[in-house]
Amino acid sequence: MAATVGRICGAGLFKSNSLATVNQISSYSTTREWTRGRKAFLGSLGLLAGGAGALMYTLDQSVKATDLELHPPKNMWSHNGLFSSLDHASVRRGYEVYKQVCAACHSLRFIAFRNLVGVSHTEEEAKAEAEDQMIEDGPDDQGNMFKRPGKLSDYFPSPYPNEEAARAANNGAYPPDLSYITSARHGGEDYIFALLTGYCDPPAGLVLREGQYFNPYFPGGAISMAQALYNEAMEYTDGTPPTASQLAKDVSTFLKWTAEPEHDDRKRMLIKGIAIFTFLIATSYYVKKLKFASLKTRKIEFRPKNN
């Protein structure tokens, strides 16, 4: 085995075989006929253009220092690792936070109750969650819409019938649908967490309009959503102390799941992919070396017929 590996790697891996190619390329190059002056001229022209580009880029970047947006700090989410899954107990608590706090204003249109099964709830629990909600259905045989208790296949009901109604109830600001919000904002779940816990007094001189609040993480600073999470704002069914940061962390994890429901499977597949492709690449490398060994080591001899 060791001899085989040695034979495959020993000669090939550390030797540069490409010298011949480099020589060939240089003898076909057209710049060889250029005069010294022309080479120097074109060389400095290139340097100048590159330098000017770099200068313009840095100047442009420094101008952008005027924006007053605070970037969210990176948190140590338990799902941060390459192979790390979501914390499903946290997803479950986050669902409770969404249901009891955020659902008053934000829809979650692309998540159905059946999606909770096997993620944060058992089938019976998800059914009970659905039945708690009244879903608009219809039309019936009189042509009227009616309300009925939800079923597993129903999507989460929205707090407002349409965007205009939502704006009218929130000082003209539209509370966005939260299904894909962690993918739709820079910083993802870090941003959601920072936004929910980052409310503070506005700096002197900043005027907020009626119904606006100051949040340094929101672009522009003036957000039309009041602080939603406070210590003890609600109770967790599993008895976790409901501090504001715990609520924010759990609802951010929940929203990470709603935006990327395939998150765990993706990471499981990554492990499988790495394992199988390591094996396949090693095998193909070995077979390639094996098959080419006889081709690369043969000699072609010319024997003139001397008669």
Partner: protein, 58 residues
């Protein structure tokens, strides 16, 4: 007769046995491969997956 010659004569020589060997080994390979990688994923995420916490709610 060496071991490789035995394997050649019993399995690789005929297409029928070869095909059977390929299908059979694919089945067992995939089973063990999935078991192994899933085991790693589950241990790596001990206590976080639904299957680890669902006992509390049933």
């Amino acid at each position: 007769m060496g071991i490789s010659a035995t394997i050649y004569n019993t399995i690789f020589k005929r297409t029928s046995t070869m095909a059977l060997a390929v299908i059979g080994s694919a089945f067992f390979f995939e089973r063990t491969f999935d078991l192994g990688t899933d085991y790693f994923f589950d241990r790596h995420n001990e206590g976080k997956l639904w299957k680890h916490i669902k006992g509390r709610y049933q």
